[in-house]
Structures are given as C-alpha cells and as structure tokens.
C-alpha cells in the first residue's frame, strides 16, 4: 500500500526533484542581464545554480542517511542493501556530473540543465528503490526523458540535434520493448511485485510448466532487448558512438554513467530477484553470456580504429558493459550461493570503478581547451603533457584504470569478473557444458582486456609522446577539474584499498544470493497469513544425480506474522 511512509522512504529522490524545481524557477526568474551577451566574452559563471544543485545533492545524501536500512519493503519501495549501494553510487555520480557540467556549452540554460541532470539522477536512485514493475518502469523513464532534454540543451548545433534525434527515437523503441517484456512477466506470474513474481512463478512452474515458462522466456528476451539499449549491449549499441560524438563531454559522461547504472540495477532486480526459481531452467545465463561475449568483442574491436575521443570512449563503454554482463552471466548461471554472491558483487564493484574512471576521463577532456576549442580528436591531445602536465597525468590514470592496469581500481573490477567466472567454472556443482562456457567467458574477458589496452594506451601515448603543435589551456571554471581530481583519488584509492568497497558490495548482494531465503510463502488468500506448503524445483540444492531421481522436493515454510 502506498502510504506517507513510502514517500518518506523516497525522500532522496524527492529532494533531488524539488531541487530541480527550484533550479527551473531560478531559470525563469533570473535577471536577463546576467546572461552572456555573446560567446567569447567573459561569461558569467552563474555559480548560484551550481551551488543550489550541489546543496540538493548533499541534502539527498542526508535524507539517505536518515532513512538508514530498515530492510523492509514498503509498498512499491524496497529498502535493501543492494538498493542502498546503488543509491549511494548514483548520488555520488550525479554530484560529479553536476560539477562536470559547470562548464557546459550552452550557458544560457545552465539552471535548467543542472535541474534536468538532477532529475535523471533521481530516476537512477528510484530504479534502485523499486520493488514493483510499475515503479521500475516509471523510474527508467525518469532516467530517459531528462536525458533527451539534456542532449538538446547541452549542445546546440546540427551535430547536437542529430545526436538528440538518434537517441530519442531509439530510446522510445527500447522503452516499448522493455514494457512488452514487463507485460509478459506480468502475464507469466500474475503480479507486478518483484517478490510476488518470484513466489507466483515457483507455484506456476511446478503446475503447468511449459505455458508460463514460454511467456517468461519471451519476457526475458524483450527485457534484455530494451534494457540492452540502456546498457549499450552489443546488438543494441549502434546509437552510442554517434550520440557520444555529436554531444558534449558532460552529456557523454551522463550517458555513460546514468543509464548504465539504472539498466544493470533493473536487470539484477528482475533476473536475479524475481526470476531466480525460473532461472534454474538455465535459459537466462546462456543469453546473457552470449550477449556479454558479443558486447565486449564488438566494443573493443571497433574502438581500435577510432581517432575521435568521444567515439573511442563510446566504444570503450560498450566494451566495459560487456565485462559487467559477464559478471551478471556468472551470477545467473551459478549453482552455489557463494558463486552467485561473487558474480553479483563483481557487478556492483565494476559499476563503481567504471563510473569513477569514465566520468573522470570525460572531466579531463572537458577541462582542457586547445586554441579556445574543446579537444575532439587524438591529434588535439598532442603535447598535453608539456602544457598541462597534471591533466595528462590524471588522463593516464583514468585510461590505465579503464584498461585494468594493476595498481588502479579498474584492475579489481576485471579481477572480480574473471575470478568469479573461473571459480564458478571449477565448482564441482557446475555441469560440464556450463563449466566449459564459463571458462570460455573468462578467456574472452582476459583477451578483450588485453586488446582494449591497445587503444587506451594510444590515448596516453598521444598525450605524452606526440610533438606539440598548439598550446592547451584550462577551460575556465574549476568544476571539471575538481570532478577529475575526485575521480582520480577514487581510482587510486580503490586500487590501493579495494577491500572496503568489495566487502560493501559483497554484503549488499548477500540477501539476493541466498537461494532459500526469499522463498517464504504467504498464503494470504483468505486475508490472514497462515502455514503455506510450497513445491519448488530444488535442482540447486541437490547434486545432479539426486535431482534426476527426485526433481521436485517438498518444503514447508512457516509464514511469519505480517506486521
């Protein structure tokens, strides 16, 4: 039920939305003389809007602290460690993006721009808090719709409009795909609540397996197609290079962070949390594994030929999405709780280190100008180490982190992914075919990481070893510079001390990874909860030989008192 308590638990999102409203009002009532007359003059920085946005982010963080972790599901909102982790991660990313956007190209609309960025951040946080497919859909749209506006506001020339159009139309089709997947999940289970879907599927699959399993399969395919657009999985990635190239650096950073965090959170919520009993039929992990190998190979191979920086980083983000999908495939196909927990924790860890490195790289590029214009291609970086040595140093840190060089954060992300795949492959519970596929996955990740190092190193080499032609200057406001320094400290800090983040991620996914725990059966059909007897397929709890003898085992759960 929706109560005032629900609104309280959505406090951080509400804070961000209210801050966005304040910023929109500020945009309307701002004095006309404050705005720049013409480009090239000393532009007014409008620091008040930036301050309002940052105060909003801090207030949202305070609200998040106040909520704490009650570990309960209130109406459509779930407050679990996974949601808390993703909410903190997205809040930090939004704070960095706000800082990064303080030099955005169209300064006339800065309050509106910052407000729209905050709205997208509220969407990502709401995805993490959603326990209901309706709220999940609305939250995903709250990420998409502000992104269209941001793409239009951030860069106003023919390329910017083309990028907006490409993103807008394909995103519409992807939303429709996601919704069709949601409708099939609803059809297969008869409920829109994620936990209820899981319980209903357990009952239905044992009664009339084929019928509902087919619908669930269709739903998973459509969901992967729709959410695959958001996370730039391989057959749905074609928009990414064009859109990144045609937009500004802050927009590209937003596109590479916000929809990915939202999409992966939604995938984890749906595939792991609600489809776990069905997943024992072994469909999801095969599809996700194929997507992962395809995505990382396509992204990294195409990036080798790029010279445009944003285009290169777009293909790089496709490749990185492939690694996260690999961790997700491990979590889906895992036969033990430990392997599943390792895979899920790798997803969360990789999201954090990827967001830090990629936002940092975009901040460095945004913070430098070459002859008054933003850097665009690899040639524009020539001589960067001589004119702006610190920019070049931070850029090298981010590129090495994305490539996965050991002392930096990105290494631990790849380490977690590869280790999860190998451990799952060597586990005695895993079947022969599955084991082989996980080994292929681990090999694919390592080969791709080696190939990807080539183009990341090319960027660093361009900044350090090409003869300088024109001088680089700073871009004016210190926002991108601060964002780059913060991201660089995160990359180095996580690289030297990965255990706090790893432990946080591991404890965040622990409730999801326990196979028996969420199968509490509510028999409240007549109003009051009572003893429920549930039949579940228990393949994962038995060895394959035993499972062949008795594929269905009866469990009795005592329904606890509700409230």
């Amino acid at each position: 039920m929706l109560t005032t308590e629900t609104l309280w638990y959505l406090g951080p999102e509400a804070t961000l939305v209210l801050t966005a409203v304040v910023l929109y009002l500020r945009g309307v009532f701002r004095r006309w003389e404050d705005q720049p007359i013409a480009a090239g003059k000393s532009l007014s920085q409008d620091t008040l809007s930036l301050q309002i946005a940052l105060v909003g982010v801090v207030l949202a963080g305070w609200a998040l602290v106040r909520i704490g972790l009650p570990q309960e599901s209130v109406g459509p909102v779930i407050l679990d460690p996974l949601g808390l982790y993703i909410r903190w991660l997205s809040l930090a990313a939004i704070g960095l993006l706000v800082l990064l956007a303080s030099t955005d190209a169209s300064r006339t609309n800065r309050p509106e721009y910052l407000g729209t960025v905050l709205l997208a951040g509220a969407g990502v946080m709401a995805v993490a808090a959603a326990d209901n497919l309706v709220l999940l859909f609305v939250a995903l749209e709250l990420v998409s719709i502000p992104t269209y506006i941001v793409l239009c506001l951030g860069r106003r020339d023919a390329d910017g409009y083309e990028a907006s159009a490409k993103y807008f139309f394909l995103s519409l089709a992807a939303s429709a795909m996601t919704l069709y997947g949601i409708s099939f999940l609803y059809g297969a289970s008869g409920s829109l609540e994620l936990t209820a879907i899981r319980q209903n599927l357990v009952g239905k699959l044992s009664v009339s397996e084929g019928y509902f399993s087919d619908f669930t399969q269709l739903g998973v395919i459509f969901l992967l197609a729709g959410l695959g657009f958001k996370i730039t999985a391989a057959p749905f990635h074609f928009y990414a290079p064009d859109v990144y190239q045609g937009t500004s650096y802050p927009n590209a950073a937003l596109l590479s962070a916000a929809p990915k965090i939202a999409g992966f959170t939604a995938l984890v919520r749906i595939l792991i949390e609600s489809l776990w009993p069905w997943e024992q039929h072994g469909f999801g992990w095969r599809v996700v594994l194929a997507l992962a190998i395809l995505t990382m190979t396509v992204g990294n191979t195409a990036a080798l030929w790029q010279t445009h920086l944003r285009r290169l980083l777009a293909y790089s983000s496709v490749g990185q999405a492939g690694y996260i999908l690999a961790a997700l495939a491990v979590a889906l196909g895992a036969e033990t709780a430990e392997s599943r927990s390792d895979g899920l924790a790798a997803v969360l860890l990789y999201l954090a280190v990827y967001a830090a490195a990629t936002i940092g790289a975009f901040s460095v590029f945004e913070g430098i100008r070459r002859s008054g214009r933003p850097v665009e291609t690899m040639e524009d970086l020539a001589g960067l180490s001589r004119h702006r040595p610190w920019s070049a140093a931070w850029l090298a840190i981010f590129m090495f982190s994305l490539a996965g060089v050991p002392p930096l954060a990105g290494f631990w992300g790849k380490w977690a992914v590869v280790l999860g795949a190998i451990q799952s492959s060597l586990s005695p519970r895993t079947g022969t075919q599955q084991s082989l596929w996980f080994m292929i996955l681990a090999a694919a990740v390592m080969l791709n990481a080696a190939a990807a190092a080539a183009y990341y190193l090319r960027v660093v080499a361009a900044a350090y070893f090409r003869p300088p032609a024109q001088t680089h200057t700073a871009a004016g406001p210190a926002g991108p510079w601060i964002a780059a320094v913060l991201c660089g400290l995160l990359c180095v800090g996580i690289g030297l001390m990965p255990w706090p983040l790893w432990n946080t991620a591991a404890s965040a996914v622990e409730p999801l990874a326990q196979p028996g725990q969420p199968l509490i059966f509510w028999d409240s059909s007549d109003g009051n909860p009572e003893l429920g007897v549930q039949t579940i397929p228990a393949v994962s709890l038995l060895s394959p030989e035993d499972a062949a003898d008795s594929s269905l085992v009866h469990f009795v759960f005592f329904a606890p008192e509700r409230d």
């Binding site: 004095r31 006309w32 003389e33 497919l133 409009y161 139309f169 939303s175 919704l179 069709y180 949601i182």
Partner: protein, 148 residues
C-alpha cells in the same frame, strides 16, 4: 475469469499492434510517423496488459496502462518539440537527412534524392519579451519617482 480463449485473442491483437509498430518504426523515414509507430507499439503492450489483467482478475496491469499513457504523453511533448527543432534545421521531416555522424570513411546511406539542406541561415522567429528587465527610464518616470 481464467478464460484462456479470450486471453489469446487479447494477446494476439496486442502482438499484431506491437509488430506493426515495430516494422513501421524500422521502415518509415518521416519522423512524426516513426513517433506514431512507437505509440502503436505502446498500445499493443497496453492491450496485452489489459488482457492479462482481466485473465488474473487483478488491477495491477490496468494501473500500469494508466502509467504508460502518462509517460507516453510526456514523451510526445518532448518528441514533438524535438521534431520541430529538427524541422527548422533542414526544412524536412525526413530522418535520413541526419547522417552527418557516422563512422569515419563510411559512405553515406544512399538516398533517392539529394538532401535539401538550405544554405541560408535559419529564419528569425518572434520571441517573447525578456523577463526581469528594468524598463527604460524616461524623464517623466525619473521626475515623478520621488513623489510616489
């Protein structure tokens, strides 16, 4: 209420609507028609949701349909504004005119007619009076200001 026959009819019509929308989205080049095709995809989804909702005797699906309508309205507002902006740039609704962004060394998609991008600058459109400007002061206002 669990009537499989009626459910299948709902689902079939919904799937047909969704497919028509999808095919139209991929084949049309007019931006407004592409937008309407995505709307048709959403209507197909809505119809199958209502069918499932009736099958289960549960209002969740119909509630989601209301949310879909609201979100579709938001997308329509933004989408039509974007289409107007794009139309002003080229003077055409053809999406195939927008192919400046592509892989380097890749030839443009062959068209049956040249892209009519006008050379002259975009027309100057009337705009609202700026807000927050202090009105120009005349002798009359300064003379009588002390008396007010």
């Amino acid at each position: 209420m669990n009537d499989y026959a009626f459910l299948h009819q709902y689902l079939a019509v919904g799937a047909v609507l969704f497919s028509i929308g999808l095919v139209g989205f991929f084949t049309r080049r007019n931006m407004i028609l592409m937008f309407l095709c995505t709307e048709m995809m959403l209507q197909g989804v809505s119809l199958s949701l209502v069918g499932w909702s009736r099958f289960y005797d549960d209002f969740g699906g119909q509630m989601l349909v209301i949310f879909i309508l609201v979100v579709a309205a938001c997308e329509a507002a933004i989408g039509l504004a974007l289409i107007v902006v794009l139309y002003r740039q080229t003077g055409s609704l053809d999406i195939a005119l927008w192919q400046r962004l592509r892989e380097a060394n890749q030839p443009p998609w062959q068209e049956d007619r040249p892209a009519p991008i006008p050379e002259e600058p975009a027309p100057v459109w009337p705009r609202l009076a700026p807000a927050g400007v202090r009105p120009a002061e005349t002798d009359e206002t300064t003379e009588f200001r002390d008396m007010v």
